[in-house]
């Protein structure tokens, strides 16, 4: 049955935004923990650890997010878990975010001049204190802009969860479109909502980057 595109449909789409946000938040939180582990492993003295972290990043940056989603989705059955779109999407996006954030943060850690680490070592600070009090605070400043930039990529990435059947913004649009058959209007609305989520973050990232560059020039 084809029916009109009504305000109820708009409401349905708009409220689906919360699932896009929830999924993004889960993936970002998980990715932050994973990313920190990856970044520290990548810049550690331990060769094996470095190799593993490098391999992890290469695999997740060298394969499509869509394939990662499918693999986790069908992989749940392989390890004997129930197939659940939210769980699959959360796991896949977390792994994806870990790889990207890990790479961004590794770059930031390495961008801190080596003299900082040497000075901290000369002051008899151990690895933990060196990282916690000297390197990471400086790296965080460097990493802020690209991290916000990645958040945009992550929010857009959550749209792929619709393909494995998780009802977030994009899938809500598909559902409404199947009922009303107003694809131009429906997907236009969906796109506009994504734009409203992502654009401010993009502007913020650019602003932070410009401020960073000015600070470095001084």
């Amino acid at each position: 049955m084809i029916r009109e595109f009504s305000s109820a449909d708009i409401l349905f789409i708009v409220t689906a935004v919360r699932w896009t946000l929830i999924l993004s938040a889960i993936a970002f939180a998980g990715g932050a923990i994973g990313g920190l582990a990856i970044a520290l492993s990548r810049s550690s003295q331990n060769r094996v650890l470095r190799r593993i972290a490098t391999g992890f990043i290469q695999v997740f940056q060298g394969t499509p997010l869509l394939m990662q989603l499918f693999l986790v989705y069908f992989g749940l059955a392989v390890v004997g878990l129930p197939i659940d779109p939210l769980l699959a999407a959360a796991v896949a996006l977390t792994l994806h975010a870990s790889a990207y954030l890990g790479e961004i943060w590794r770059g930031a850690i390495e961008a801190v001049p080596s003299g900082q680490s040497e000075a901290a070592t000369a002051l008899a600070l151990g690895y933990r204190d060196r990282m916690r009090h000297v390197i990471l605070p400086q790296a965080m400043r460097i990493a802020t802009a690209p991290t916000v930039g990645f958040l945009v990529q992550l929010i857009k990435g959550t749209s792929l969860a619709s393909i494995i059947g998780f009802t977030e913004l994009t899938r809500a649009g598909q559902i409404v479109n199947n009922a009303t058959f107003q694809p131009f209007l429906v997907f236009g609305t969906v796109a506009a909502l994504y734009f409203l989520l992502c654009w401010p973050l993009s502007l913020l990232a650019r602003h932070l980057e410009a401020r960073m560059r000015r600070a470095l020039m001084r």
Binding site: V59, G62, T63, P64, L65, L66, M67, Q68, F70, L71, F74, G75, A77, V78, V79, G80, V152, K156, G157, S159, L160, S162, I163, T170, G173, Q174, N177, Q182, P183, F184, V186, F187, G188, V190, A191, Y194, F195, C198, W199, S202
Partner: protein
């Protein structure tokens, strides 16, 4: 315990390999046309014509701040409503070109702007005309500066192109989806698909590194 069954994948490996070729072809075509769009976009952005710049800005911002999946839905399902219908394959190519064109516009603009003013002034002081300056002074260093961004953009494009399978355009992911519909060896199929995409990405980044060594061997300036 899960029983792995790679038989369907092995028996149909030729289909998947053909799909991989389709993905490569689609990505190369999208990149080629996308670069044309990018150059036009970058020229328009650096031109003094205000409305043109706003138009390009709007295009770049809209594309970069919406998911590719929604873009392809809009192009394939939405545009027919205003009289623009395309086959899945054409829609896939158009969507990828539009997408990579937006990212490429920014990359190329940055490349042009990365050339120090002094280089252009030196060319002018030596009596070279603007076309000669662009050709002999600007192009190679600019290309060298943006080469890493352009090549990683290509690989990202190739990975993103798997999304065109949702409108059943022909590519590697679609070949996998077809096979999955016939055999239901889902995990095994997607594992092999993932490996194939990874090999493509690895192959291209190796190729790009080799090209870089051949063409951009001059030592970096300070």
């Amino acid at each position: 315990m899960y029983q792995f069954n790679f038989q369907p994948v092995i028996q149909n490996l030729d289909l998947l390999l053909f799909g991989a070729w389709l993905t490569v072809r689609l990505s190369l075509m999208a990149m080629l046309f996308g670069l044309v769009v990018s150059v036009l976009g970058a020229v328009a952005k650096t031109s003094g014509i205000r409305p043109l710049r706003w138009l390009v800005d709007a295009y770049v911002e809209v594309i970069r701040n919406t998911p590719f999946l929604v873009q392809i839905f809009f192009i394939f399902f939405g545009l027919p409503a205003v009289g623009i219908s395309m086959s899945p394959n054409t829609a896939a190519l158009v969507a990828l070109v539009v997408n990579v064109g937006a990212y490429g516009t920014e990359i190329i603009r940055a490349g042009i702007e990365s050339i120090p003013r002094g280089q252009i002034e030196a060319g002018r002081a030596l009596g070279l005309n603007p076309v000669q300056i662009f050709r002999y002074v600007v192009v190679k260093p600019a290309l060298r500066n943006i080469y890493p961004s352009l090549t990683s953009q290509f690989i990202y494009l190739m990975l993103t192109s798997s999304v065109v399978s949702v409108i059943s355009a022909n590519d590697l992911a679609s070949a996998g989806a077809d096979l999955n519909a016939r055999t239901f060896a889902s995990f095994e199929i997607y594992l092999v698909l993932t490996v194939l995409y990874f090999l493509l990405a690895l192959g291209f980044s190796t190729l790009f590194a080799a090209i870089r060594r051949v063409f951009f061997t001059y030592p970096a300036g300070r």
